[in-house]
């Protein structure tokens, strides 16, 4: 089956298409962003995309923000910024695959064998149920509700409580979640297929199925020891 969907990291030339797909029409629970914001995310983060080379162009995007660090301070957690998929491509496993690629690549690059990797978190507006299923399928678990500092740019349009406070649900990633994640990623690389689509995946550097399986087995061993 020829590959029709290409999963890869975004480059600067993709910024306009990502902006048009995700941010051009404001969504009530989606942080608003300008084209310049999207360009910054591509330059400073890891923004993964799905491209339908059959004609529709970029049909999905997912961003993980990894703050830069220095030698002396503990690194801040990474933030999984959610997934946006073109309406005609939803409920086909594409969003799950994009999430698996982004997260597996992140963990591949950040101490994949460690029992205590640097945390990755995600936030969802307390009144927004839409992403909860996907987050759970990917392996995130609810941790706590957190207030969004007043005046944070991009959240001005979102519903607030009776005191004017905006709240988000914070999700965290349990380290053992990597076992399933690495195996799902290996499966994706092995089958190169999602639903009726052949896919081409350009994952993190040097990522290969046997090493993903070895990592999953190693993490299983750690879990057994605990």
């Amino acid at each position: 089956m020829p590959a029709r969907l290409h999963f890869t990291l975004a480059t600067p030339v993709d910024a306009n298409a990502i902006f048009d797909l995700v941010y051009k029409d404001p969504q009530p629970f989606l942080k608003s962003a300008t084209l310049s914001d999207v360009q910054d995310w591509i330059a400073n983060g890891s923004c993964w995309i799905v491209r339908d080379i059959g004609g529709a162009g970029i049909i999905g995007a997912c961003n993980i923000r990894v703050p830069e660090t220095n030698r002396y301070d503990e690194p801040e957690p990474a933030e999984f910024g959610g997934i946006f998929i073109h309406s005609e491509y939803r409920v086909r496993g594409i969003s799950d695959a994009l999430g698996v690629l982004a997260l597996a690549s992140y963990f591949w690059d950040n101490d994949p064998e460690s029992p205590n990797p640097i945390p990755i978190i995600s936030h969802v507006h307390v009144q927004n149920p839409d992403p909860l299923g996907l987050l759970a399928r990917l392996g995130f678990v609810f941790d706590k509700n957190v207030p969004v500092p007043r005046g944070t740019p991009g959240f001005e349009h979102m519903p607030v409580d009776e005191n004017g406070q905006l709240w988000g649900k914070e999700f965290r990633w349990p380290p053992e979640g990597r076992i399933h994640l690495f195996r799902e990623m290996a499966k994706l690389l092995a089958t190169q297929q999602i639903d009726k689509y052949g896919v081409c995946i350009v994952p993190a550097l040097a990522m290969v199925e046997p090493e993903l399986e070895r990592l999953a087995t190693h993490l299983e061993g750690l879990q057994t020891q605990q």
């Binding site: 983060g45 950040n110 990797p117 640097i118 350009v202 040097a206 990522m207």
Partner: protein, 92 residues
């Protein structure tokens, strides 16, 4: 020229199972090539923030990826060293 040769020798024989050694290779490689973490993120297909975690010794990628990163840096430094060699060989 000497730092480039020294880096190439050290990087090629480095035991990259040691996270500190990997951090050293990334840090020195970026310094010698003049790459920013943003440039390196593009080359290594990862976030600049992840590269900064690597060079500061906070994290390292899967072992096979450490060797791939090392090889990319060695290639870059080798190219720079070759270019400098040629410049040295040409009489002014």
């Amino acid at each position: 020229m000497e730092p480039l040769k020294q880096f190439l020798a050290e990087a090629k024989s480095a035991d990259l199972r040691d996270k500190e050694m990997f951090a050293f290779v990334v840090r020195e490689g970026l310094t010698l090539t003049g790459m920013s973490v943003r440039d390196a993120g593009e080359l290594f297909r990862t976030a600049p923030g992840t590269v900064s975690r690597w060079e500061n010794g906070h994290t390292a990628p899967a072992l096979v990826a450490r060797y791939a990163v090392r090889d990319l840096l060695v290639n870059r430094v080798t190219r720079i060293a070759s270019a400098l060699d040629q410049r040295v060989a040409v009489p002014a």
